[in-house]
């Protein structure tokens, strides 16, 4: 026999008594006896699965039984057992039924922090191929329904990620993007179709995902992810899927995930090769453990410059989606501490082991990055110290100015430093093709005293070519600002863009 102290809201069920007696050798037995004597208590103390509700705290004397032996904690006659409420609640972002939130438990698995939403009959039918697998089952599907996933980008990776997560029944999918659909996206970004060209990617994505699965909630954020908004945007979500195509955003996503303790289902693609991993789990490494510093700006070209095999994001995005549903359901072996590299041409997967770096600036034992920083600056691509205008004038030329000079009869040597296959797509009339990689061995084909205008697709590679030419004694080298894309936009719209 022990005394149980009853909190105010439960006293109507114990004949208004604030303390009642019950018998049992353990807390579990004692509470079972209590609910036998006062049957109205049961629904409020236990959930449908017969487990104590998360907001019901039981103390033996002054110790929370969660830190003792839980419901097996022994109770002696002299002990006082108290039921003490936690009071929780809050607004939800969307449809309440899908408000489930997941929290990582001690093993790093995501666990729902309260009762999961029920499946409707339509949902049972829709997800039946999941439900018949015991590893998923009704509970796994309810976890997916409660799950909230934020996709950064609705492009190459975001397309398969969003579509498979929507089809799988992830209850809330958020998408961050600010772009509009362009013809050059359609070769791989299967969220969008030809009629969507010119529409916002978010509007197009939302239509597509809702057509796949009207049961789920789609939240769209038409904004560029930044240090100012990342924490707030990530906060309501359980898993963040990184589908970005640039280093500043990649480091930003990584750091925000580490700071918020949210898993980062990472993927990246370039030409024929892709990478995937799960970062920022409690005991696993993060992106910075692998790459503490970004590459020098311009060294690693983007997909827009280097190209990408259209089906490649399909493979990598589906790996990200697979890891995401595994994390939500808490099944299988997540891709934590493992870095997967996929080579489409050789059709080979390689796996590297990754370790958490104790000196990692963001997830190490003594982190130096404790809040989000300026990632443009960190990656050296930002508007750092503004260059003096005079120097700018001497190193760059705009498409419009180049056209004016050509019209005046000026004939600077125009050197296209792109690859031959790009030159086949479009070109500036009269230009000479010398790919960037060939410049060091072919620059002597050019006259160092003559004025040279270099260009590439967007201006990155040609800036390097210009630097090189100046270093070997060229007197006057101008980089065409914005590359041939800007030229086509402003001067010669008759040519195709890529």
């Amino acid at each position: 026999m022990a005394k149980i102290l009853i909190p105010t809201p439960l006293r109507p069920y114990t004949d208004k008594q604030d303390a009642v007696d019950a018998t049992g050798a353990t807390v579990g037995e004692l509470l079972a006896d209590l609910t036998r004597r006062h049957s109205g208590l049961k629904a409020h103390l236990y959930n449908d699965q017969g487990k104590l509700r998360s907001f019901v705290n039981v103390y033996v004397n002054d110790e929370d039984i969660r830190y003792l032996q839980k419901e097996d904690t022994p109770v002696a006659a002299a002990d006082t057992v108290s039921i003490i409420p936690s009071v929780a609640g809050g607004a939800t972002t969307t449809d309440d039924v899908r408000s489930g939130r997941l929290q990582a438990d001690r093993d790093g698995r995501l666990q729902p922090d309260h009762e999961l939403p029920q499946l409707t009959n339509d949902e049972v039918k829709r997800y039946s191929r999941h439900l018949i697998m015991p590893e998923v089952g009704v509970e796994g599907q309810r976890k997916l329904k409660a799950g909230k996933v934020l996709c950064i980008g609705a492009g190459g990776l975001g397309s398969p990620v969003g579509m498979y997560l929507a089809a799988a029944g992830v209850g809330t999918i958020g998408i961050v993007d600010f772009d509009v659909v362009d013809f050059s996206n359609l070769q791989r970004q299967i969220l969008h179709g030809t009629p969507d060209v010119g529409r916002s990617k978010l509007a197009s994505a939302k239509d597509r995902l809702h057509a796949l699965n009207p049961e789920i909630e789609i939240q769209t954020y038409e904004t560029a992810l930044s240090s100012q908004n990342a924490m707030q945007l990530f906060e309501p979500y359980d898993v963040i899927v990184d589908g970005t195509d640039n280093f500043p955003t990649r480091y930003l996503v990584n750091d925000a995930c580490v700071l918020l303790g949210k898993p980062n289902a990472y993927g990246s693609i370039f030409r024929f090769e892709g990478q995937a991993s799960v970062f920022a789990m409690k005991d696993g490494p993060c992106y910075r453990c692998l790459y503490p510093e970004p590459p020098p700006p311009g060294l690693v070209p983007s997909c827009a410059e280097g190209g990408v095999l259209g089906v490649l994001p399909g493979i990598i995005g589906v790996i990200q989606a697979t890891e995401t549903v595994k994390l939500i359901m808490g099944i299988g072996e997540p891709l934590i501490g493992r870095f997967l590299i996929y080579d489409a041409l050789r059709m080979k997967f390689r796996e590297l082991k990754l370790r958490k770096d104790p000196d990692c600036p963001v997830c190490g034992t003594h982190p130096t990055v404790t809040k989000l920083i300026d990632y443009e600056q960190f990656c050296g691509v930002g508007p750092a110290a503004p260059e003096p205008v005079a120097v700018n004038n001497a190193t760059e030329i705009t498409s419009v100015d180049l056209k004016k000079r050509l019209d005046r009869g000026d004939r600077p040597k125009i050197v296209d430093v792109r690859e031959p296959n790009e030159y086949q797509i479009n070109r500036i009339a009269g230009s000479t093709l010398i790919p960037l990689g060939d410049i060091p061995k072919r620059y002597n084909e050019l006259d160092p005293d003559e004025e040279v205008v270099v260009h590439c697709k967007m201006g990155g590679r040609s800036a390097k070519a210009a630097d090189f030419l100046r270093s070997v004694g060229f007197k006057r080298v101008l980089n065409l600002k914005g590359g041939i894309l800007d030229w086509i936009d402003k001067v010669d719209p008759s040519q195709p863009k890529y």
């Binding site: 105010t8 409020h44 972002t93 309501p236």
Partner: protein
């Protein structure tokens, strides 16, 4: 239990809850309601105990009163000569209606006051009671006024 419950709150209580919601915006605020139940005209809240929001899940959408603060609230209620009638919390930029999350975590008997705070300004205030079978909340009648037993109140609401 009656579903048409009536809860009157002192105007100072009304002001304190609104102010607390505005101060913590865009985060949720929370606190305890102290007053007397079992009055002929329904329960009356005469004071509040503002409490820290200790949620670890993002205070924009969640609040949590931890057990130690709950105990503090019960003790303070006794010291103030009243009893713990329930809790209040804010819904920043969300309507003053209980969420599924509120329902899943609700205690019986307690009055749950929700104040909607839109763009930093307190707006609607409502009160809710959990049904005995936990299936949903019932909205109560929230009355503003110093004294539920005054003649005016009785004339209007009696």
């Amino acid at each position: 239990m009656p579903h048409d419950r009536r809860l009157s709150i002192a105007s100072a209580v009304d002001a304190a809850i609104r102010r607390h919601g505005q101060e913590t915006y865009p985060h949720e605020c929370c606190g305890a309601l102290v007053g007397r139940s079992g009055e002929a005209a329904g329960a009356h809240v005469f004071d509040v105990v503002p409490l820290p929001n200790t949620t670890e899940e993002g205070p924009r959408r969640r609040f949590l009163v931890r057990p130690s603060d709950y105990r503090l609230a019960e003790r303070r209620a006794g010291e103030m000569g009243g009893e713990l009638l329930g809790f209040y919390h804010s819904h920043p930029d969300h309507p003053a209606r209980p969420s599924q999350y509120d329902l899943d975590h609700a205690w019986p008997t307690f009055a749950y006051i929700i104040v909607s705070v839109a763009n930093g300004a307190a707006a609607d205030m409502t009160v809710w009671y959990l049904r005995d079978d936990r299936s949903s909340f019932d909205e109560g009648n929230l009355h503003h006024g110093e004294n539920p037993h005054s003649d005016t109140a009785a004339a209007v609401h009696g």
